[in-house]
């Protein structure tokens, strides 16, 4: 795009009067072959029951500002019924991909049709003809309020709503978009919108300076149709739909307080709920165990979204890109119009690495700013809802239940390699506060859930060792993410008495790197076997199979806990993973 075109588009975005709009249109026309290479191109037919020439003049510029090229056919004044009902009309010969039917209540209510039923039938007949004769998507403006609505009880409100309801019922097709322009009237204010003089002299049903606003609205809806901006939102749960992590904080510990910071998570739920009402599918991709999530939805009355609002849910500890792949497969969708929401930049990057074409907005760290940031992306300008689309979520949910999950092999190692992970190992005394915090708060990735005090810990590791691990990657510092305490490495057996890790870094093979480090330390102290212990709790199901997965064999069960062992001789010594660089640090770090 040239500098000139860019500044013109910026000027157009600010145009608030017809004069400014027309000046921009003039400059746009003067550009030789405006550069929109690679943009989609539409063939737009514009017709209606009022003087649409201003809108027509502005359309190519308005669409260019939305990165869409277009050719335009403009129907003669008030030819909408003729042009749409006659299969041989000039409008159809133009072979439009999109048709805009711009209608004003003024002519509908006081013109030849007048009665509610006659108005509905005429519009429905014209639109149905368009759907049959052409393959175009048809955009129809719903009747706007009449000025009388504000000043008397003439029944024009009832008339408008009856017509609107009739059209919504009769035109519930995925190829029809009904555009309500009442919000524009409200935003401008009645005194700025209504002006009979321009209708009487020029058949313009609003003050001419309102043209840029109406044009912008029509162009937004068209752009949303053309680029299929959003048909599916796949969302994270912890710290995205609610404050906190359900696995650690429990269903009753989640922040959904409408009077506090929980309000911002409720805003996000409300926003998604209203997208769903417009026909957007919702799905969950969450790294959690399914049970606490179900419990949270079932037991927290503040939730605006319920589990059955989601057409698919992937709740496990596999990579989110795998979840995405499964969701798309089950819902039989391509990646077009798919939006992925996650508060964690690493998860966003992981999904982006496999699905570069998926829309992944950068969610602000501050939950208060998130909904506004999402709206500002323009991804959620949507066509009007139809009953069909409203029931789609449920339909998809049923399909998803029937379909069995398909395993999709993603290239996760490649992604992990690109993260440039560095793991720093320290003695626990160098991050005392954070270590204690992790010991007392971590529930999910916690093999023994022993809530030690500092002195307990010091006594325990006499003859053994206790380390903490800090993980950095190219996105930044994850802080201290894991603590391991090993007791009694004085004899042949070294026992991992405590091992816990933050779930934030799950799925990155960090546990393999930690085990390799622990094994090397135990061996250096003369141990020949590493002993692992798993004590089940209500919340640590996640690590039930950790030791077998890491190559340990079960050696016995006692009082509900399971013991494992791993010989520390080749070839059993864990090698770690080559894409996590482990470095030893001896400096103290601040609490993070």
């Amino acid at each position: 795009m040239t500098q000139e075109l860019a500044s013109l588009l910026a000027r157009y975005a600010q145009a608030g009067s017809l004069r400014e709009l027309v000046a921009c249109v003039r400059d746009f026309a003067a550009q030789d072959a405006p550069q929109l290479s690679g943009s989609p191109k539409i063939r737009l037919a514009l017709t209606g029951n009022y003087s649409t020439q201003f809108i027509a003049k502005g359309f190519p510029l308005a669409m260019a500002a939305r990165h869409i090229g277009m050719d335009l056919y403009e129907s003669p004044y008030s030819h909408w019924r003729i042009d749409l009902l006659d299969a041989g009309s000039a409008l159809y010969r133009f072979a439009p991909t999109h048709i805009v039917l711009a209608l004003t209540s003024i002519e509908l209510a006081y013109g030849a049709l007048r009665s509610t039923q006659a108005v509905i039938s005429a519009i429905v007949a014209a639109v149905e003809a368009a759907l049959q004769v052409s393959e175009a998507h048809v955009l129809v403006t719903l009747p706007e309020p009449l000025a009388e609505e504000l000043s008397d009880c003439s029944g024009s409100y009832a008339w408008r709503h009856a017509v609107g309801a009739g059209l919504r019922t009769a035109l519930a097709s995925s190829r029809v978009s009904l555009v309500d322009i009442e919000p524009l009237v409200r935003a401008a204010g009645a005194s700025a919108w209504f002006d009979d003089r321009f209708y009487d002299t020029s058949k313009i049903p609003f003050h001419p300076d309102r043209t840029p606003a109406l044009l912008g609205r029509l162009a937004d809806v068209l752009a949303a149709i053309v680029t299929a901006r959003c048909k599916l939102v796949v969302t994270d749960l912890d710290d995205t739909l609610w404050g906190g992590r359900v696995g650690d904080d429990g269903w009753d510990g989640l922040d959904l307080d409408p009077a506090g910071s929980g309000r911002h998570f409720l805003r996000m739920q409300f926003f998604l709920k209203s997208l769903q009402a417009k026909g957007v599918l919702l799905a969950i991709a969450s790294k959690n165990n399914p049970d606490p999530v179900r419990e949270a939805f079932a037991k927290r009355p503040e939730m605006m979204l319920q589990l059955d609002d989601f057409a698919a849910a992937e709740i496990h500890w596999e990579p989110k890109s795998t979840s995405l792949a499964r969701i798309l497969d089950r819902l039989k969708l391509s990646t077009a119009g798919v939006v992925f929401l996650d508060d964690n930049p690493v998860e966003r990057a992981e999904v982006r690495s496999r699905f570069p074409e998926i829309q992944i907005p950068e969610l602000p760290q501050d939950p208060a700013q998130r909904v506004a940031a999402l709206i500002a992306t323009g991804l959620f300008e949507l066509r009007a809802a139809t009953d069909e689309s409203r029931t789609r979520n449920r339909m998809y949910a049923q399909n998803a239940e029937r379909d069995s999950a398909l395993q999709v092999a993603g290239n996760i190692d490649q992604f992990l390699r690109e993260l440039d992970m560095v793991m720093e190992v320290r003695g626990i005394e160098q991050a005392r506060e954070r270590v204690l915090e992790l010991i007392h708060k971590t529930n999910q990735f916690n093999l023994t859930t022993r809530r030690y005090s500092w002195s307990d810990l010091a006594a325990l590791v006499q003859g053994g060792f206790a380390q903490c691990y800090r993980l950095k990657d190219k996105f930044g510092d994850n802080g201290i993410i894991s603590v391991v305490a090993v007791a009694g490495a004085d004899g042949a057996d070294a026992t991992i008495d405590l091992w816990l890790m933050s779930c934030r870094v799950l799925g990155r093979k960090v546990e393999e790197a930690i085990l390799a480090d622990v094994a090397a330390r135990a061996r250096a102290l003369g141990a020949r076997r590493l002993i692992g212990e798993y004590i089940p709790t209500a919340k640590n199901e996640l690590v039930r199979d950790l030791y077998p997965r890491l190559g340990f064999t079960e050696s016995g069960r006692r009082d509900g806990s399971v013991h494992y062992e791993l010989p520390l001789q080749d070839p059993h010594v864990p090698a770690g993973v080559d894409f996590i660089r482990t470095v030893e640090r001896s400096s103290t770090i601040e609490r993070e």
């Binding site: 009067s17 017809l18 000046a23 020439q53 201003f54 009979d196 009487d200 001419p208």
Partner: protein
């Protein structure tokens, strides 16, 4: 005096609406200004109302076809006084 003042106020409006260095005279009308059509005529009326703080009636909007008529009308409405 007041007519001259009105011409001075009208000229920049004409220039911005018609995108030209047009010089106003009493007889100037749509036939002599390339961009003066039904569309720009509406813009002209809207801009005159907005910038000179007057309100034209429906009849006045429909009738104003040359500069002389406009100036006379605006004078009656107190512009330039």
């Amino acid at each position: 005096m007041s007519k001259a003042a009105i011409y001075r106020k009208l000229e920049p409006i004409f220039r911005s609406v018609f995108d030209s260095d047009v010089v106003l005279s009493e007889e100037l009308d749509a036939s002599q200004v390339p961009l003066w059509d039904s569309l720009t005529h509406i813009i002209l009326a809207v801009e005159i109302e907005a910038q000179l703080g007057v309100r034209l009636t429906t009849e006045e909007l429909a009738q104003l076809r040359n500069v002389g008529e406009m100036v006379t009308l605006l004078e009656q409405k107190g512009v330039g006084a």
